[in-house]
Amino acid sequence: MGTSFGRGGATTFQQDLQNADCIVIQGSNMAECHPVGFQWVMEAHERGATVIHVDPRFTRTSAVCDLHVPLRAGSDIAFLGGIINHILTNERYFREYVVEYTNAATIVGEDFRDTEDLDGVFSGFDAEKGAYSPASWAYEGMQVASAAGQREHDGHASGERTGSGGVELEGAEPPQDRSLQHPRCVLQLLRRHYRRYTPEFVEETCGVSRDLFLRVAEALCESSGPERTGAFVYAVGWTQHTVGVQYIRTAAIIQALLGNIGRPGGGIMALRGHASIQGSTDIPTLYNLLPGYVPMPHTEHYGDYHEYVRRNSPRTGFWGHMEEYFVSLMKAYYGGAATAENQWCFDHLPRIDGDHSVYVFTKGMLDGTVKGLLVLGENPSVGSANGRFNRLAIAKLDWLVVRDLVEIETASFWYRSPEIETGELRTEDIATEVFLMPAAAHTEKSGSFTNTQRLLQWHHAAVEPPGDCRSELWFMYHLGRIIREKLRGSTDPRDRAILDLAWDYPVEGTIAEPSADAVLREISGRGPDGEQLGSYTELKKDGSTTCGCWIYCGSYADGVNQTARRTPHDRQSYVAPEWGWAWPANRRILYNRASATPGGEPWSERRRYVWWDAAQGRWTGEDVPDFVATRPPDYTPPEGATAEDALRGTEPFIMQADGKAWIYVPDGLKDGPFPTHYEPAESPFTSTLHPAHPTNPARQVIRHRLNPIANGRHPALSREVFPYVVTSYRLTEHHTAGGMSRFVDYLAELQPAFFCEVSPALAAERGLEHGGWATIVSARAVIEARVLVTERMRPLRVQGRTTHTVGLPYHWGTNGPSAGDSANDLYHLVLDPNVHIQEVKAATCDIRPGRRPRGPALLALLDDYRVRAGIRRAAR
């Protein structure tokens, strides 16, 4: 989303789904995983929208949709690419929108070669490194700012992490062919790239019949144009693949072609799985970003503040003000200690020197380079892919801190875990010192959640936490305070980074809880006189403003906690601008200037949202305009204009350097400017499209003996031994790795046991008995589950043969009243190269009746499978 439109957040809000004429839910099981937001899909359905669920399984979402389209897990790009081909072949795109608001007319340089030219790779591929150099992907006559694909630290290189800002374009404005005829214009390249994605190809690859596919394609095409709009909804069913970012990109292309971005009833609704997962990327728990998607400095920036700022401040678009955002952040961190002379304490920031994402540092734990781990709000023993890899890594640590509501599996690995059971780990051999710290629940602490639609909502502590339970805020604040006390008086220069911090939050109550309100005030930002700022456009680079996260600037505007506003829906418009506060600047639909024609008129009365009011000389409408408010539609940038002033009055994607939605991404992605269908790393099928490169050539593989992968050296053997697709998912009744649900009586009883879902045909093929037990085996693990035989699991016909899927909810682990094996133990660590996310939506497995062996016999069974699959040679 970041690379396509400029900000890595949902482009719309759930309440607006009620306006859609068509909603395609794909890669999401919205009714089960987001039941409250799903009311707006139901509302759209009541008003006559066509609601379609594309999913390998028939779920509670499918049950209330007009159409369920079962497709093979891992084949979504083939399906969506087919829709793109359908739109182009039948000239169904929204021409005026496409020409004006997307980069369809832009001409790409001569050096670019497509996967169709090079049999499965784009130009710039280095086979040895398994990585791309994007230089040849550039627009004609432009240089790309950096070899983004190779610069790990570059926030812009990470599609989903490009939360708010596009990629820099240097050089003259690229040439365009507004007739869309030039052979190297984006639209023609797109046509060539997808011309083989025919309905027949979709049928053969996805297992979706031609007729069913065409019904979806037509439903979308019919919900396009000035009068009508359609929306896409996705969640981790798209992200958790080795080509996850490209799944989302494919939908972004469809929505750009159909003119559905920035308009009511349109957009792409990215659904996040936790209460504040959007918040945890906005003010990140990620290694390569600072708050507000400002890139983390790299070792190459030692001492070189100016180079750091220059490289991250494109000449055009709102990122042109990156220095204002950065200086204000450093003033929030370091207060008076940050001065122009010391470059705002730039050298206090740690530097990254490579990929430090979660599975990479977990491997570091195994290798002994990472000694300690703090686990907050996570349960990697259950929730991370390849559980054994994670648990054995944790067992190598010197120390481990787990903060949670209950004793989750990550904290109990040393005496209760699958590895203890098999004898691989023995308690007496584990040297890890484990600290289990009780955490406060959300009802026991104040703070904000940033939900799936960028909406900040405040929650007030109802009671003080019991006993020793404490909030994260309390833990972090007092940890910092104690460390600072221990370092007091130190003359070691490296301690300055901690001692200079403005660590001065007021504390409240008997437990000395830091004031969350004070933290939000700091995040929202203050002006020279200490007054709360209204908007990030007020930020300065002279050190006179402070702001903890520039995209949250204004969340405490006018000295009012804007996130705590709760005007009921019946006392305001459906956009509900007075409920909570959404970033940026309380906008609910992003890029909403696109809801008006280039001339500034609504596209239609029915789809009126934000428009130019010539009399008042400003943009106005239902929402906060996502545009310079007083910039007329006919504005043309003067010579030498920079930042947002360099964009025309007709360019709605104000975070992008060219102000356009990117159908083609010339830089910023590690695996290509267009999405290409690749098979999952483990698949029962090979790609008929590019047999030479069946899987994403730029995929990231965690190479380790604990992470064996089928399909490697002996794909044919692997497919014989692991013939089925295994996909994982959530149930309404439980929450992710189960820490908040399996231990709660009222939830545990609703889904009390780990089960697998299989079709009657697969049950017959493997002798599985409904209500009995099954053993599921992958190249990594052997687990067992109760068997639920259901027609909701469909065998599909792919490449001329029948394929079966085993479905596994992943909530269970060894602890609590509802215990069971962990589905994630089955999965491998082959990752999406852009965002380092694991592929737990499609891998391969075998399934057999009965319970799994116990003790060392389990390892023997696993070994037998690996030998037969050609993953490992038989021991002599």
Binding site: F58, A63, R608, Y746
Partner: protein, 283 residues
């Protein structure tokens, strides 16, 4: 332009249990199963508010239903019914699979068998027209259990008394919506004055019929049925039996009058016979 009043939400009626004069109104549920998504929020909200104990950790294998049925420890129960007609196995064709979900609850019958048979007066009809067990009066005799045509009221093993949905009597007294209805994200469970709910339900059936959902029908909305109509009635998409509901429920005390009448007649005739016999023998 966009978004008139939301059509689902606009079904919502005034949920206050007292009218403008402060007089209590007849309140109930209309559960529209056509928009139920099976999230079970109703089950959980009910248990949280009413402190209903856990009902066991048994995995049933009956679709996603691990509650099984309404009982002393589950006052709401979401049924999951998977319906599949025979399909060709290799064909991904659509349209032959249906997954019905329905949240069941005590019907709060207008003629309530449980209430009729209760010897202690523990079961009572409230000022809102609902049927409630007073747990401090119940002596656990269990007559009501066999008197309920739906199998709703049930004895809790641990304490011997009977328990069931109170329609959140305590909340109603404070003009609050029952917990299940408030938690329902799609407003499949609607709470309000029964008369108004009946009107809404009739409209809803007409709308669904117009859209071609000809199988939509109301269950328990008819005041002339065997239990005098339900205070908590339903819109179903199939026969009641499919959901485990009796098609024509009858309050078992319906025939009590006639039976007592017959018994009285028999007694009278017996007495008469005895008297006649006695008179004759004397003569």
């Amino acid at each position: 332009m966009i978004a008139g009043p939301p059509t689902i939400v606009s079904h919502l009626v005034d949920t206050r249990s007292h009218d403008a004069t402060g007089a209590p109104r007849s309140m109930g549920f209309f559960t529209d199963t056509s928009i139920c998504i099976g999230c079970k929020a109703c089950e959980v909200a009910c248990k949280e508010w009413n402190h209903v104990p856990q009902d066991g950790l048994d995995w049933t294998g009956e679709s996603y239903d691990n509650t099984g049925c309404i009982g002393a420890n589950s006052w709401r129960h979401v049924a999951f019914i998977e319906q599949a007609r025979p399909v060709r196995q290799d064909d991904g064709a659509h349209g032959d699979l249906r997954w019905l979900m329905a949240s069941d609850v005590c019907k709060h019958c207008a003629k309530a068998g449980c209430l009729d048979v209760c010897p202690t007066g523990a079961l009572m009809r409230t000022e809102f027209g609902t049927v409630v067990v007073q747990s401090d009066v119940c002596n656990g005799c269990g007559y009501c259990v066999s008197a309920c045509p739906f199998g709703v009221i049930d004895r809790r093993e641990e304490d011997g008394r009977v328990w069931k949905c109170t329609l959140c009597y305590d909340r109603l007294r404070g003009d609050m919506e029952p917990a299940c209805a408030q938690a329902c994200p799609t407003k499949s469970i609607q709470f309000g004055p029964v008369d108004e709910l009946r009107r809404i339900a009739d409209d809803r059936v007409r709308t669904l019929h117009r859209r071609g959902v000809s199988e939509a029908r109301l269950y328990g909305a008819d005041r002339d049925d065997g239990v005098g109509g339900f205070g908590a009635f339903f819109l179903l998409l199939d026969d009641p039996e499919v959901y485990g509901l009796p098609p024509t429920p009858v309050v078992p005390t319906r025939d009590l009058g006639r039976m007592w009448g017959a018994a009285a007649a028999a007694a009278v005739s017996m007495v008469a016979g005895v008297v006649v016999a006695a008179l004759r023998s004397r003569a």
